[in-house]
Amino acid sequence: MRLSEVTERVSGAAARVPRSVYAVGGLVIAIIFPLLNMAGWVETAWLRVGVISLLFVMLSLGLNIVMGETGLLNLGYIAFFAFGAYTTALLSSPKFELRWPFLVVVVLSALIAMVAGFVIGLPTLRLRGDYLAIVTLAFGEIVRLTITNLQDFTNGPNGITGIYSPRLVGEGALESLGSTGPAAWLVIDKPVEYYYLVLACVAVTAVLISNLKNSRIGRAWNALREDELAAVSAGITASRAKLLSVVLSAGIAGFAGSLFAYYSNVISPESFLFMQSVIVVCMVVLGGMGSIPGVILGAIVLQALPQVIRQAAGAARSEFEVYRMLIFGIIIVVMVIFRPEGLLPDTLWRREAHEVDPREQEKTRQSLFDLEEGEKDLEV
């Protein structure tokens, strides 16, 4: 049996399982995972892998809005993550001796990233394909170099250290209720707490985006991607719809960046390299552009799998690092050749990848029986 046949069968079986089963199943596994650590069966290091994987899930969900829905490539996406992370670092660290409330900081971080999205989005609305790739790539690099050189604000390559842990309720809020100080459970500083915080954020983001995908706005994005001229002639304001998707995806990255800064306590420009943007693109492509379960899986596979392999490799760990990007490259090349629509494909992209979809063809044959005579005009 050829590889493509195998994947076709597997995905055929996978497609028969309702999407809600995946969602609930995935969430249950994600919720149970830290309990294994508490029970002592899993090292805390794996919890950290979990937090980082979840942050990348959020990045993939955000990038998927522009890449998967609107069809705009962004090779500088990590810059928005940086905007969120640095906003948080500046507002909640000894650098300027600020400790703004967590919710305010997170929202501001997302907003600043959205402003950055607007600023880069507006002049690039007309670009597509190669040009868009080059401009977004340059944007990502400019942001990183600016961060590196703005010593006074960012401490340059040394980064910002000592970022405070999030306090869900600000200092003083409890005193007013008659308590003497912030209760310990209101401060998030243990890996398991971060894990659940980020998981909750990811789950909420996934639900909101999935609603949006199946709305009038999501359809407008898809229509623009399919045929921009027809879409604008059908009443869709291209600039507005595209800008909305760019700004929203930037906001999600900013949100993720804020959580990342809180979690890692220290951030520096080397977390925002071009390679990171490429990795997020790979996660979206691997999982399946436009597919929410797909990009979640893609992010987990590409973020967690290398860690698993590294663990398994044991003594050869340092050598593994060298091969990590090579393995990434091979995975993506194999995917693009054999399964361009991704692991858990979105319907539109599956159709895009295969002019005629075998499953669609089967359905069509079935439905032909239901239709009257003289109606057999489906071209498949």
Binding site: A230, L348, V380
Partner: protein, 262 residues
Amino acid sequence: MGTILELQGVSMSFGGLKAVDSLSFDVRENEIVSIIGPNGSGKTTTFNVISGLYEPDSGDILLKGESVAGLRPDQVHDKGISRTFQSLRLFSNMSVLDNVLVGMHSVTDAGLIASMLRLPKVRREEAAMRVKAREILEMFPGRFSGPRQQQPAFSLSYANRRRLEIARALASEPALLLLDEPVAGMNPMESREVMEQIKVLRDKGYTILMIEHDMHVVEGVSDRVIAMDHGVKIAEGTYTEVANDPQVVEAYLGKRAAEATA
């Protein structure tokens, strides 16, 4: 009957080529007006100028007395002009139903936050849109029934894709419907069916400006006919008047043939 569309000396050129040359005509409420003319006579360009894809070099375009010249296509659509394309332009990977739903974009208003939260009003709007979309699709009896509404647009036959484009254009209940060669590529039976449907649309109150090559269709549905050649309007009137106009015969058959028939 009021005037829906009025073109006043509209010109549009590509480089040195005057594709549309000081074109003036109007379309009144609840009328079907057909534009005929040989290939390359500027008919599609006229549509492109009206629908905002091109900005006219000179002249004005009025929709119910209000200028729409120079507006973006989505703005023109908002004002009430919907169109189909000579070369089909469907959202081919999207379902039949979704194609029609996209056509309703400008007449619905669920915003970003409301859509993300799927608020009750968004659900109501979505449900109402689907009911409406099915109603529109049922204007083409049996063509988009049941399971076919969920199929991708590309899987439809050529004739059904043309019908779907009309359905998408109707989704916003436009004040003026522009149809660019709606029966191109159809067999005589299919053409006749579409012709009947266009008449039904007029009975429902729609105003239609149509480009058409099929003279049976033009004869069958048009209240008035406009003939174009080299970007210029060469005749206007009833089908019989225009079809017998020497300039029109000449444009179609060449000068010598025109003299022969005269």
